[in-house]
């Protein structure tokens, strides 16, 4: 009987984490380049005392545990912004950003801008990398055109190419905040399609998140009901079995 309560508890604590994941998706419903997450669960079978000697044998108890938070890499909608340094990726791949510690991070959010020196940076001030590292524009560059394949053409001619990379297995990418991912062994994407003057919106779907939200709250209610019923059952058992009959 106590086992049933523990199983219910495992479900409840995981539902709380699930709600956190939904809340994070919902909070980022307007975050450009954000990729939603889904939580997957796994059945965790509690090893029981070896009951083979008995007939019938002990039943295994299955708890529920978190397995993974899978990031959904489906593309978000492309929103036109007219800003010349807003870039949206209309293909697979990631922009490459240089972090403060010199390592590379990867992002789908192409809301870039220039700093005082004319360097192309993210909204956090981290340089965006091209084939030849970070790029700095001067006044003489004038109008900047970024072609679909990432080639940067200005009035001074071709200035480089925006680096777009992909990974063999995007599931291994780790979210590090600021809409960035960390990953290993990036591969250059040959057929990237960049749209200048647009950003990729969040791929969070409000409807499915609300549906999941309802699921979670109802499941939580149901599990709580179970815990309550178990409690009553136990109370009844105590009062019935504990009665001393003269």
């Amino acid at each position: 009987m106590e086992n049933a309560q523990l199983v219910a508890l495992s479900r409840q604590s995981i539902l709380r984490n699930h709600l956190d994941v939904i809340a994070n998706n919902m909070a980022n419903i307007n975050t450009s380049g954000f990729k939603s997450q889904e939580m997957s669960f796994v059945e965790y079978i509690m090893p029981v005392a070896d009951g083979t000697a008995f007939e019938p044998a002990d039943r295994e108890i299955s708890y529920v545990d978190m397995f993974t938070t899978r990031t959904n890499f489906e593309p978000g909608t492309v929103n036109l912004t007219e800003n010349e340094f807003d870039l949206a990726l209309n293909s697979e791949g990631f922009f490459v950003v240089q972090m403060e510690d010199g390592t590379e991070a990867y992002t789908r959010s192409g809301a870039f801008q220039l700093d005082a020196t004319g360097q192309l940076i993210t909204a956090n001030g981290r340089p965006v990398l091209t084939d030849a590292g970070a790029i700095t524009f001067a006044r003489e560059d004038g109008l900047i055109e970024i072609a679909a394949d990432g080639t940067i053409a200005t009035e001074l001619g071709i200035r480089g190419k925006i680096r777009v990379v992909n990974f063999d297995d995007v599931r291994t990418l780790e979210k590090v905040g600021d809409t960035m991912f960390k990953g290993e062994n990036p591969v250059q994407v040959a057929d990237a399609r960049i749209i200048q003057g647009a950003v990729e919106g969040s791929n969070v779907s409000g409807v499915s998140e609300v549906t999941r939200l309802i699921e979670v709250t109802r499941a939580y209610d149901a599990t709580s009901k179970l815990v309550k019923d178990l409690d009553e059952l136990r109370q009844q058992a105590i009062s019935t079995l504990g009665r001393i009959q003269a």
Binding site: T31, S32, N83, A116
Partner: protein, 260 residues
């Protein structure tokens, strides 16, 4: 359960988003206004199970971990410096810039302000000033008797004096920046130079990448009503959905409290 706080960051972000949108809409008919856009980013992640950790002696690893985010933050309110449409006004001291550049304005505190709003006037001394009475830099004085003022697309200001002779009155100069989105808006359609914008470079209109001038025209705001309304709807819905999360988290808490 962090959901309450995560949803709160979401609501706060959308609140700011609505503020930015409402400022854009409020300035839809403001001459030379440049719209802003709120950019968001996700916050740090908590790794409950780190990907890549070993799960056995034989070297099997966790392919995908468990990462739980902590909400959203406002990364920047970027200003979109695209060209606004030009509207004919028929007023001879109205000037619009087509292309790159800002008019330079001498502010009362001695600093230089920059604006795309070219609705100029003459003050009591005949000096070319903004509607707030701040002088245009370099100063241009138009004598009272001068008529038929023309401002060429290269910024030359000419007039006809009483005798019917054409006289040169001055030259309008423009300023431009490496990163014009980094200018600080101070209201009254004015911008100030900042560390982020870089230093101003001045020059004559239509010269070396500077925009050209258009007399009798004003540059309208670059706000597009349809886009703003669409953004407003999505911001409001996002706000509602985040409040749903708070309600759900609250219900779950109350369920727990009512267990006994």
């Amino acid at each position: 359960m962090k959901a309450l706080h995560i949803a709160a960051t979401g609501m706060k972000a959308q609140e700011l988003n609505v503020e930015v949108i409402s400022n854009n809409v409020a300035n839809m008919r403001t001459t030379g206004f440049k719209k802003q856009r709120a950019d968001f980013q996700d916050l740090l992640y908590q790794n409950l199970r780190r990907m890549g950790t070993e799960t056995s002696d034989t070297g099997t690893i966790v392919p995908t971990g468990i990462q739980i985010g902590s909400g959203v933050k406002i990364a920047s309110t970027a200003r979109i410096m695209s060209q606004g449409s030009l509207e004919q006004t028929g007023k001879e001291l109205d000037v619009a810039i087509r292309g790159e550049g800002f008019f330079q304005i001498d502010l009362p505190d001695g600093t230089t302000g920059y604006t795309r709003d070219g609705s100029f006037e003459r003050d009591a001394n005949g000096q070319l000033v903004t509607v707030d009475g701040y002088a245009v830099n370099p100063g241009i004085t138009i004598p009272e008797t001068t008529q038929d003022i023309t401002i060429s697309n290269t910024g030359e200001v000419q007039g006809v004096d009483q005798a019917g002779n054409t006289v040169q009155l001055g030259q309008v100069q423009l300023a431009r920046f490496v990163n014009k989105a980094g200018l600080e808006a101070i209201g009254d359609n004015l911008f100030l130079e900042t560390d982020a914008s870089g230093a101003a470079e001045t020059g004559n209109p239509n010269d070396n990448g500077f925009g050209s001038l258009q007399q009798y025209f004003l540059e309208m705001a670059n706000v597009d009503a349809v886009t703003e309304i669409a953004d407003l709807i999505s911001a409001q819905r996002a706000y509602e959905m985040n409040s749903q999360i708070i309600q759900a988290a609250d219900e779950m808490y109350s369920t727990t409290t009512n267990l006994r």
